[in-house]
């Protein structure tokens, strides 16, 4: 531990020490080897300001309730810790800045002026932990209902409904909740009228055909022109992060499937890689390739849904049916391999749940031979359609700088010409062995975002074909005591094996203490699970960084001055699911 602290492992760390003095910082080692520095609250803004030119993106901002954590050696005393994770795209580097807060003084300064996407993250920190963000323009609850009592991710907040007293939804409660949801323009600093006309305030959602789930955008309209808008999220919040603290390392896997519910097992990958990093588990080659193959199949599946709904939201009725029919074929394959369809929860710590079934290669080969012609067909039908182009080209444009400021990742970022794909830049789980391209384009509009996803499907097919042609043999799961119980036959032979088997299947694995997060290029952008283990059978803190959350936050910026149909095109082109936003 002492050695790790004294070693300076990056120029940024050196710069920081030179500028602010080494005494200001406490370095913390982490399992993912990301530079993690503790900073005192008073100097936080100075440090972040200094880092801003080097780290263009605020990747994540979250809090940790440290009050019941046992293993915190080498870390400064803290009741609540705020974590700022910054990402530098050009240098491909991360830094985590941590701030310790004591329970008696729970407040931090806002950093919205540095990274505008901090807005929602800071609201989430307030909502979930009750940490006051001073200087924040609208510090309201974001995920929980405005009438909620308590801060849900605090350790003393109950995790189960049965601990909370009976829930009643009588007429009084209904009236109160509805009143709480009423949109008040003055709360957001909106004027009710201009000099010559009165504005109309329209609730688009939470139940609206085109908001892809339960999502509300309150619009300030002049005729049909959008003056301003306030996205309202949280209707799909299920407390996934809280559940992560209660489930064992293994039993949380099915919950991850339901975060980005179109991404299926790809969600497992983000979670499991962090667990494996914490436990130091090596995954066998075959398992890696199987994981990549299934993840890419799910990328295609998710993009097909995007494609269909995007075109449908622009008003073209038919293509979505073709795309769902293709996706159905894909689900046939997923079902044959995993037994599940949308949420197979099929990856396991250290590998996958089972080996590939006989004949898997034939099914997949048929599909990857079949799809390209269909994609060409759809291209003619939808993407080349002049009316669709008229509706989407030049609509919802943002620049590279805006994309970075707002934490946009995935195809949304690449549509502005930044060629940043985690699979290429930080090849995880075996992606370095594959030959594929990262499509980019330069306009940053709705049309480009759609086109990139379509090209990504072709690239995914290329990756799957390589998996198919080069599937290695060997085990599908690593032979590691944390992942695989001892052979059942031997449990009746000696007590040691019996005990280990029993513990492993009843309690689940004990993951060594530490912190880790691994980015993956998920269907919608960068997804990662920041896991903190306190050396137990479940996670101490599970932070799920999803791409859709910051993407939605940007809607007001890019829809200003456009019309309602443009907003629909923008929403469609972002490609989000509310489960991924609200968690």
């Amino acid at each position: 531990m002492q050695k790790a602290e004294s070693k300076i492992h990056s120029p940024v760390e050196e710069d920081l020490y030179r500028k602010f003095g080494q005494a200001l910082f406490i370095a913390q080692p982490s399992a993912d080897e990301t530079l993690t520095l503790w900073v005192h609250r008073d100097r936080l803004i100075d440090v972040l300001q200094y880092l801003k030119p080097k780290f263009s993106m605020l990747y994540d901002l979250f809090a940790i309730d440290e009050r019941t954590r046992a293993n915190r050696s080498g870390q400064p005393a803290s009741d609540f810790t705020i974590v700022y994770q910054l990402l530098s795209l050009d240098r491909n580097e991360d830094i985590r800045i941590k701030v310790a807060l004591s329970e008696s003084s729970l407040n931090i300064p806002t950093i919205i002026s540095l990274w505008p996407n901090a807005n929602w993250y800071e609201r989430e920190v307030w909502d979930m932990f009750g940490v006051i963000v001073s200087g924040h323009p609208n510090l309201y609850r974001i995920l929980l209902p405005p009438t909620w009592e308590g801060h849900a991710l605090r350790k003393d907040h109950p995790a189960r409904a049965t601990e909370m007293g009976e829930f009643e939804m009588g007429p009084e409660r209904v009236a109160k909740e509805q009143e709480a949801l009423r949109f008040r323009p003055e709360q957001w600093g909106m004027k009710k009228a201009s000099d010559d006309s009165e504005y109309m305030f329209l609730n688009l959602g939470p139940n609206h055909p085109s908001v892809h789930g339960v999502f509300r955008v309150a619009l300030q309209l002049d005729g049909e022109v959008i003056i301003d808008s306030v996205p309202d999220i949280g209707y799909h919040h299920r407390g996934a992060e809280k559940m992560g603290e209660r489930q064992t390392w293994h039993t949380f896997i099915p919950y991850t499937d339901r975060i980005d519910y179109l991404g299926g097992v790809m969600n497992n990958l983000a979670y499991i890689q962090s667990v494996e990093m914490l436990a130091g588990i090596e995954v066998p080659e075959r398992a890696k390739i199987i994981r990549i193959m299934l993840s890419e199949l799910f990328r295609i599946s998710s993009h097909l849904v995007f494609y269909g709904t995007f075109v449908q939201d622009v008003g073209q009725m038919s293509p979505v049916f073709y795309m769902f029919a293709d996706r159905e074929k894909l689900f046939g394959i997923i079902e044959a391999i995993t037994g599940g369809r949308m949420h197979p929860a099929w990856f396991r710590i250290g590998g996958v749940a089972a080996d590939l079934p006989n004949g898997w290669d034939r099914m997949i080969r048929e599909f990857i031979d079949f799809l390209p012609a269909r994609l060409d067909h759809y291209d003619k039908m939808a993407m080349q359609n002049k009316m669709l182009k008229a509706r989407t080209v030049g609509i919802g444009v943002y620049t590279q700088q805006e994309a970075l400021d707002w934490g946009i990742t995935g195809p949304g970022l690449r549509a502005t010409g930044i060629d940043w794909d985690v699979r290429k830049k930080r090849p995880y789980g075996g992606y370095d062995q594959f030959d594929f391209e990262v499509p980019t384009s330069n306009n940053g509009d709705c049309y480009d975002r759609a086109e990139l996803r379509i090209e990504e499907m072709r690239q995914s097919l290329k990756i799957i074909r390589q998996c198919l042609d080069n599937m290695p043999g060997g085990p599908y799961k690593s032979d590691h005591p944390q992942t695989t119980p001892p052979p059942k036959e031997r449990t009746m032979e000696d007590i040691e094996t019996l005990i280990h088997h029993f513990l492993n299947v009843s309690w689940g694995p004990v993951i060594p203490e530490g912190e880790a997060s691994v980015m993956i290029e998920a269907t919608k952008g960068i997804n990662s699970y920041h896991l903190i283990s306190d050396g137990g059978t479940n996670s101490y803190r599970t932070r799920i960084r999803t791409p859709s959350f910051p993407h939605l936050q940007q809607i007001p910026l890019i829809s200003k001055g456009l019309m309602i149909p443009d907003l629909i095109a923008i929403i469609a082109s972002i490609d989000f699911v509310m489960a991924d936003v609200d968690r």
Partner: protein, 324 residues
Amino acid sequence: MSELMPVLLALTILIGGVAGAAILTWFERRLLGVWQDRHGPNRLGPLGIGQVLADMIKLLFKDDWVPPFSDKVVFIFAPTAIVVAMMMGFAVVPFAPGMMIIDVNIGLLFFLGMTSLAVYSVLLGGLASNNKYALLGGLRSAAQMVSYEVFMGLSLMGVVMMSGSFSLVDIVEAQTDVWFCFSQILGLIVFVIAGIAESHRLPFDLPEAEHELTAGFHTEYGGMKFAMFMLGEYLGLMLISCMIVTLFFGGWHGPALIGHWLPPLFWFGFKVFIIICFFVLLRAAIPRPRYDQLMSLGWKVMLPITLINLVITGAVLLWMEGAA
């Protein structure tokens, strides 16, 4: 007997129109199903045609709710207006020689007048609902339909010039040898586009635009009042198809050479059927333009085309007269 004929015919058309619109709801869904690799309603009765009955029963038994915040009289009146106006429009359609309710010398103007009346239905329904989405739908319909009315009328003037009459029978007779769809191709294109806009179907269903305005002008409507709007829409579709056939595709005349093999009523019905299928195909295939794009298409493209068509038609007619 001869005095009873128009009455009988009127009753037949009234019942036939409603039944036709009902069957059309099923037919459209089946046809869309064929084009979209799916089945459509295929469970009840042969080919699923019983679905029509099931839908009607469902709509009849729905709660007949009038929103307390709406303008109640107008709210109830609006859906009837569209059905009445469209039904009246059928009065001047010549289905076959002698088979029409009334042959007036201003048949064409009567048709245009009736479709204009139908606009009020959508407009009033949207405004009376006192709902923001309905209001936006109503606003869109006002702008869209008022502009498309202009080209709709103008696009038909070429036909009137060539046949020298506003009477639909005269117009059909004038097409005995050559259908106007060749000489009046520009008029036909504009009329078809304006016709879709008038009957507010996809791609020009902006007052409804479910992806943008949930259900637009009829957001607050349910049960039979909603059914009336749908009935009106399908009647409108049939009426526009009938008019396209009458004005541009020779009405009851069959194609040259084989035309006399089958009765005129068959040819009329067959052509209307083809046009309806074409409208369904349009709905399946084309995305919806934005409201301002639709407007600029109207005023910047359609209006000049119509005017050019008029000038050319007039010039050619004068030249031919001079030559004769």
